[in-house]
Amino acid sequence: MSKDKTLGETLQERGVSRRSFLKFCATTASMMALPPAMIPVIAATLEKLRRPSVIWLSFQECTGCTESLTRSHSATIEDLIFDTISLDYHHTLQAASGSAAEHAREEAMQENYGNYILVVDGSIPGENNGYSTIAGISNKAMLLEVAAGAAAIVAVGSCAAFGGIPKADPNPTGAVSVSDLIKDKPIVNIPGCPPIPAVITGVLVQFLTFGLPELDQLGRPAAFYGNSIHDRCYRRPFYDKGLFADSFDDEGAKKGWCLFKLGCKGPTTYNACATTKWNDGTSFPIEAGHPCLGCSEPDFWDAGSFYKALSTPTEDIGKTAVYAGAAGLIAGAALGASLRARKQSAVKNHERVTIDDLDQES
């Protein structure tokens, strides 16, 4: 597909019908967790889109994120998405190798300087550059060089987003995340180990159609990471009733009760697993009877045992205070005026307690 034609023109040339395109837009909207009312907007934008160049860099990673992406559940949709972009450099997927591969990257950078999208998976060794190099170039040097000409950066997977497993204690390579090194470019984090494939493609499409998506405080797109697994979990009603599985084969486990006590990190994990699900939308860990590991949260690997019940977030007292504070606000409003009066009268009835008031016999 030529780079100066719009996606609409290319599709038409290839004999893809308008109905197919509408279907693509509808399923994409669903994937992006956008309201169905947005479907026509997506259609109109995508149609006019000229395909952007994408450079994909892989650093300290296990290729799981790429594996996840290429298993994106809909071959058709994935094709279309890859038709909308020009994936100019990707170690694992590109045919070229050796100096030809690096040449492709340099060429793509030159041609689209300032406009290409940089996708990164894997973390970057911080202390000794020798821990990971590509074609003799250290990961850090390559990231800084390619990032300089990028319009925006997408950090795919927990390693690129937060450091991930390479950063796990004792972090032998001094691994850091993309956002630790790059401060002057918009960065979208798509954490997960690996991320849900539909979320990777969904964010790319969202990026292409609407530009930089709304991000949360950890740089994750709110459309996919706006709710906790727990809030969207079909087992949530059991949590609310206090019905928990205490082991993997007790009555509670068989009845499908909440896995909180078995270490489920759902309450503190923000991701789309509970609704988008995995493997063609077949299931997700909790549905298969296993607690959520919290793989899309920072430092999930060091957050204690996967099977130890969550005791407030990993290492963060602050969050407890926030929860308590928020709960306090809600209940505070619920106390209501009459109750406040009740409390006021108790305050008024307070007699100062002195040491003479402590003994029963006095």
């Binding site: 709960a327 306090g328 606000l329 809600i330 106390l335 307690v353 008031d357 402590l358």
Partner: protein, 420 residues
């Protein structure tokens, strides 16, 4: 005055229930995780020691006074109202089997601060006359004599004279314009007077401008332990008055857990205004001196050491890194216990439990948890930073026939100070 009564206790509970308390009670999902976090439960396996259960009287008042169904139930006679007997029945749960260590608050999945509520429940218990004898007596001594252990100024002066002679240092008293006002705990004056000599030597070497006060030398606060904010505020006020009078920049909390919590965190809330001086724990100050290069060691501690985190300093107080920085400076072989820092296990004697003879057997029983922790690391000595923890740990080690020296971090640093 009128003396304790159920009505006063009930009124105090009504008064103590605030928005967080209401939110906490309505959010509890009865998961029971707080039980496994409480050493009184883990060492006895008795479900009555489940932390949230210890709050039952407070929960009842909340339900019957502040919720629609509770009020209805009470009006229709469906639910039994709280009685004085209920409070009497709960006394030992609220005072003997809770050290206010705060571990349960850390594990609660819905973020309920159970410790915060136990503290509130004690307000009602104390006003209703259901506080333990030992704590009542300690509180009386704190108010009338100025120290829960009944330590009077001449006793402190005698220790100071002794210290000055032994270490050839000057212990400044009532010096206006000193940078730091140093507080002590009675236990340090009576049981560990070396502490005074240690800070005197360290401050001399590090050139810290400091003073003690003859009017307010006691840092501990029985009012908080027994749960009477009126008394707690009075005790804090004594320190505030002296600090203002001497125009110090900061007040140093001694190696005592709850003293730090009382003056640093509860203090301004109790007296109802911001302090115009800072409050630092002695370990915070020592670590600051370390980073400024003002603490010079002549040699390192050769023994294999571990550190027991006092709950009020670490978990409730946030002073976690400082002792570790100091220990790594001091010793080559410092190891952590299995659960440490903000999740450390309480020694078993905090929150007024040590002043309460009735709880003696129970607190020694709970020491099994600390023993289990220590058994995994095989150290030569334990370091801590709270004289109350220290006394109880020594008792526990004796009870379990373990021979391990207990060191104060401040004192150990003083012993290794470089001679100029």
């Amino acid at each position: 005055m009128s003396g304790p009564s159920f009505e006063r206790g009930y009124n105090a509970l009504k008064e103590e229930i605030d928005a967080p308390t209401a939110a906490f009670f309505s959010s509890c999902v009865h998961c029971g995780m707080c039980a496994e976090a409480c050493l009184f439960f883990t060492e006895t396996r008795d479900p009555k020691y489940t932390p949230i259960h210890k709050l039952e009287p407070l929960r009842k008042v909340w339900k019957q006074e502040y919720t629609f169904w509770g009020k209805l139930g009470k009006a229709l006679g469906l639910s039994r109202p709280l009685t004085d007997q209920d409070l009497a029945d709960w006394e030992s749960l609220v005072y003997d089997s809770c050290t206010l260590c705060g571990r349960c608050s850390m594990v609660c999945p819905v973020g309920n601060d159970i410790t915060y509520m136990i503290r509130k429940l004690r307000e009602g218990m104390a006003a209703a006359g259901h506080a333990p004898k030992g704590l009542i007596d300690a509180t009386k001594r704190a108010v009338t004599i100025g120290s829960p252990m009944g330590v009077k100024l001449p006793a402190l002066q005698a220790q100071i004279r002794h210290t000055e002679k032994e270490y050839d240092v000057k212990v400044p008293m009532d010096v206006e314009g000193a940078e730091y006002l140093c507080l002590l705990s009675s236990m340090e004056i009576m049981n560990f007077p070396e502490y005074i000599g240690s800070i005197a030597r360290i401050f001399k070497k590090a050139k810290v401008s400091w003073t003690l006060s003859s009017q307010a030398f006691e840092a501990t606060n029985s009012g908080i332990q027994i749960g009477v904010s009126d008394i707690a505020a009075e005790l804090v006020q004594r320190i505030v008055d002296v600090a203002e009078e001497l125009k110090v920049k900061a007040v140093i909390s001694p190696e005592c857990g709850h003293a730090y919590m009382a003056i640093r965190w509860d203090g301004p809330n109790l007296v109802g205004k911001r302090f115009n001086f800072k409050v630092v724990h002695i370990l915070e100050l020592l670590d600051e001196l370390r980073t400024q290069g003002r603490l010079k060691m002549k040699d390192k501690e050769a023994r294999k050491l571990t550190y027991h985190d006092p709950c009020q300093i670490a978990r409730r107080g946030g002073v976690i890194d400082q002792p570790r920085n100091l220990l790594n400076m001091l010793a080559d072989n410092f190891v952590e216990m299995p659960e440490t820092g903000k999740m450390n296990w309480c020694c078993g004697a905090g929150g007024g439990v040590s002043s309460n003879e009735r709880a003696d057997d129970l607190r020694l029983k709970t020491f099994a948890r600390k023993k289990a922790q220590l058994d995994t690391i095989n150290v030569d000595a334990i370091v801590s930073a709270c004289s109350n923890c220290r006394i109880h740990l020594e008792e526990g080690l004796e009870e379990y026939h373990m021979e391990l020296p207990l060191l104060s971090l401040t004192e150990t640093i003083a012993e290794h100070l470089a001679e100029e």
